[in-house]
């Protein structure tokens, strides 16, 4: 073992692999968010996801394995099978879809009440996506509409984003990386 390795393990900088779950309603922009985070050479044209896709990307020396879940109604029940096996959750919300904000709340409640997430300090990152849309709600409004302040035993963060251009994504992922590293350190 070289000196550098020793140093990096000492400062917890060693490259590690974490698994995150990307959920959200259909057409909220989950695949687009991941598409932007991926390296340039394997970008795809985004189409409605069937079942789930596994994507890999790197951020600050941390390798992310993202499970891009489909948001279609018939695939939403697949989400809960992966709650036990992830270190963080990215919840993508379409901030221009005011009608289905109630559905987002419903899905969030189901997520928070699931036995696999109840006891865990899973960091949840909310992307208030499509912030460029004309009638988009601000991230503050979404946070209050979803009653996010009620989530007390999990760290959460909401940031407005535009997944097509990539605005706001880095800030969110930065926060998530920090939280996940913190969690690992505590263990």
């Amino acid at each position: 073992m070289g000196l550098l390795d020793k140093l990096s393990s000492l400062f917890r900088l060693k490259k590690r692999e974490v698994k995150v779950l990307v959920v959200g309603l259909n057409n909220s922009g989950k695949s687009t968010v991941l598409n932007h985070l991926k390296s340039d050479d394997d970008k795809i044209t985004v189409e409605p996801t069937v079942g789930l896709n596994v994507e890999k990307f790197k951020h600050n020396n941390v390798g992310f394995t993202a499970l891009d879940m489909s948001g279609q109604v018939r695939y939403r029940e697949v989400w809960e099978h992966y709650y036990s096996d992830c270190e963080g959750i990215i919840f993508v919300i379409d901030s221009s879809d005011r009608l289905r904000l109630a559905v987002v709340q419903e899905e969030l409640e189901l997520l928070l009440q699931h036995p696999d997430t109840v006891g865990k300090r899973l960091p949840i990152l909310f992307f208030a996506n499509k912030m460029d849309a004309r009638d988009a709600l601000s991230s503050v409004k979404i946070a209050s509409a979803l009653n996010l302040h009620r989530i007390i035993n999990k760290p959460w963060h909401i940031c407005a984003s535009n997944a097509v251009k990539g605005e706001g994504l880095d800030e969110g992922i930065e926060w998530l990386t920090q939280q996940i590293c913190e969690n690992i350190r505590k263990e």
């Binding site: 005011r98 009608l99 419903e106």
Partner: protein, 584 residues
């Protein structure tokens, strides 16, 4: 755990209240509401044909999500709205057909696209034309037309005559003068009462080309080709249709189902028209789910028939129905019917969801719901959109975890008790009543004979209807006996097993005989007739018989079960055997 526990009670409710706006003042009819993907962007929009309280100032309002997205002024009050696809272009932009008076206005991309006018009815009554041709003054003309009205009925007169009769007397002279100068094109325009659409070539693709089907006030049914805007078929109906539904494919076969204003339910295809039922009250709506027709009546009943005309069930509704709609929930493979009801006390109104005759769920609504539509809206797949009589819009989305019929029914109905002390409005003894009493006293024999005759006539009619119902009903007289048959073996020696079971609770069958009827040149059987021992209730009896194939052809054996009369019969297909047993 985060503190969401206060909401767990609401969890039972299968619907999410996504949006409601009570200030929209949307006045509409149950038939003037539609959902369609207007821009082919997988974002379904709501189309409402709205008008103000005086039935004027009609507009086509388009809603996207929670906001109004567009508005088009309509030239007349809509009576029905139907969206359809009329071309094979790659971007599937649906047309919106708006029936208003004798016209169908077609809009595409929220712009006027085509106006179709129903061909006017054949020339008006020749007598009426004659009256108009005689150059007489207004009072005389009015008198002649009044007489004609008595003869033909007001609705069968031309619009000009109708207008003249409705005018104030002092305005008539002027009307006749201006009218007389015009060329006498007395034609009766008709009005479209209801409209629907039928796929033309394929039922698999929702966005395939369809035909518009509409019924008019002149009791005619038209099929309209919406590519060329030509009439494909024209049928005469037995009455003026109030609600219309259609099943099938235009190029293959179809069944038109409609209710008439006088409360009859008909099915109609290219060849014949059949009256399924005549109700005591007019129908308020018609729903077609697969092979089942559901209709709610003004007398607070909900009925179900098959498309073949067999009655399935009927239930009493808890309130006065206003409208009904089909709620197919594919994820639960459940087909519900939503009926909006108001109650006599005017305080409460409910939406009731029925699955078959069972009440599965109900929602209390602050205002009575006048229009219901269920389908994809926005990005959501199942949205229940309701518009109340006072014009508020409500959008409810189906929960992913929704379950119907487990406990919600309890405590749904805190119905007002039926008003048992109805005060009868007994009129005072009038002169008419006194005269009637005197007449009854004087001509008692004639009146009694008349009554007796009517009574007998009613009896005969009831018996005839009962007999008809017995013959056409699904429940057969033999339903207490069950017959199943199976064939064992590969041939040429086969064993036929006939299982007979008595399903009745009280009756026992004593002298049953099983007879096998078969082609004597193909099969040989030792005992084609077998006595069955007494069949006590619930006991299953097996009658076995051996049969030998003598020719290598497939054929069938008929099993008949007798006592004094033929009870049951069954056909057994026996496939051809390769090896045969030649008779010695």
């Amino acid at each position: 755990m985060s503190g969401f526990s206060s909401r767990t009670l609401q969890f039972q409710q299968p619907w999410i209240d996504a949006f409601s706006d009570s200030n929209l003042a949307l006045n509409t009819l149950p038939s003037c509401i539609a959902l369609a993907d207007l821009q082919d962007d997988a974002d379904s929009k709501l189309i409402v044909g709205a008008f103000d309280e005086t039935y004027t100032d009609a507009k086509l309002k388009i809603f996207k999500g929670t906001t109004q997205y567009g508005e088009v002024k309509l030239p007349g009050t809509p009576s029905a709205i139907q969206t359809f696809y009329s071309d094979l272009n790659k971007t599937k932009i649906p047309g919106i057909g708006v029936a208003s008076g004798p016209n169908i206005y077609v809009y595409k991309n929220l712009r006027p696209y085509f106006k179709f006018t129903v061909p006017p009815q054949s020339e008006v009554n020749s007598l009426e034309a004659d009256i108009w041709q005689q150059k007489c003054d207004a009072t005389q003309l009015t008198k002649l037309l009044e007489d004609l009205k008595m003869e033909l009925g007001f609705t069968n007169l031309s619009p000009a005559s109708q207008k003249l009769l409705l005018l104030e007397p002092h305005l008539r002279e002027q009307f006749v003068q201006t009218r007389g100068q015009l060329a006498l094109g007395l034609r009766r325009k008709t009005t479209i009462t209801c409209m629907t659409s039928i796929p033309k070539y394929s039922t698999d693709d929702e966005k395939s080309i369809s035909c518009l089907v509409f019924a008019t006030e002149c009791a005619k049914l038209y099929f309209l080709d919406i590519q060329a805007f030509t009439i494909l078929n024209e049928f005469s109906m037995p009455g003026i249709a109030s609600h219309l539904a259609i099943s099938g494919l235009y190029v293959v076969s179809y069944v038109v189902i409609f209710t008439t204003r006088n409360g009859c339910l008909y099915t109609m295809n290219e060849k014949k028209t059949e009256c399924i039922a005549s109700f005591s009250a007019p129908s308020i709506g018609l729903v077609l789910q697969g092979d089942f027709i559901m209709t709610a009546l003004m007398d607070s009943t909900l009925h179900c028939f098959t498309i073949q005309g067999m009655k399935q069930w009927s239930v009493e509704l808890p309130g006065i129905p206003i409208t009904l709609a089909s709620i197919p929930i594919m994820s639960l493979s459940l087909k519900l019917v939503a009926v909006s009801c108001r109650f006599r006390d005017e305080k409460t109104s409910h939406l009731f969801f029925y699955s078959g005759p069972q009440l599965m769920h109900s929602i209390a609504t602050p205002q009575p719901v006048s229009a219901i539509i269920f389908g994809p809206y926005g990005q959501g797949e199942s949205a229940l959109i309701t518009i109340s009589t006072r014009g508020s819009l409500n959008i409810r989305l189906l929960k992913r975890t929704a379950q119907f019929g487990c406990g919600e029914r309890a405590g749904i109905l805190a119905l007002p008790p039926p008003n048992s002390q109805i005060k009868l409005n007994v009129p005072k003894k009038s002169k008419l009543l006194v005269e009637q009493t005197i007449r009854e006293r004087e001509q008692k024999i004639e009146i009694y004979e008349q009554w007796k005759r009517s009574w007998l006539h009613l009896n005969v009619m009831t018996c005839e209807e009962y007999l008809k119902a017995l013959q056409s009903s699904a429940v057969s007289q033999n339903n207490s006996l069950k017959l199943t048959a199976q064939v064992l073996g590969l041939g040429p020696h086969l064993k036929i097993q006939v299982f007979l079971q008595n399903l009745s609770k009280k009756e026992a069958f004593t002298s049953l005989t099983v007879v096998f009827h078969y082609n004597k040149s193909v099969f040989k059987m030792d005992s084609p007739s077998r006595q069955v021992p007494m069949l006590v209730p619930n006991y299953e009896c097996c009658v076995e018989s051996y049969i030998v194939c003598e020719m290598s052809v497939s054929s069938n054996v008929t099993v008949l079960v007798f006592d004094e009369q033929l009870r049951l019969s069954a056909f057994i297909n026996i496939p051809a055997c390769n090896c045969i047993c030649s008779s010695q």
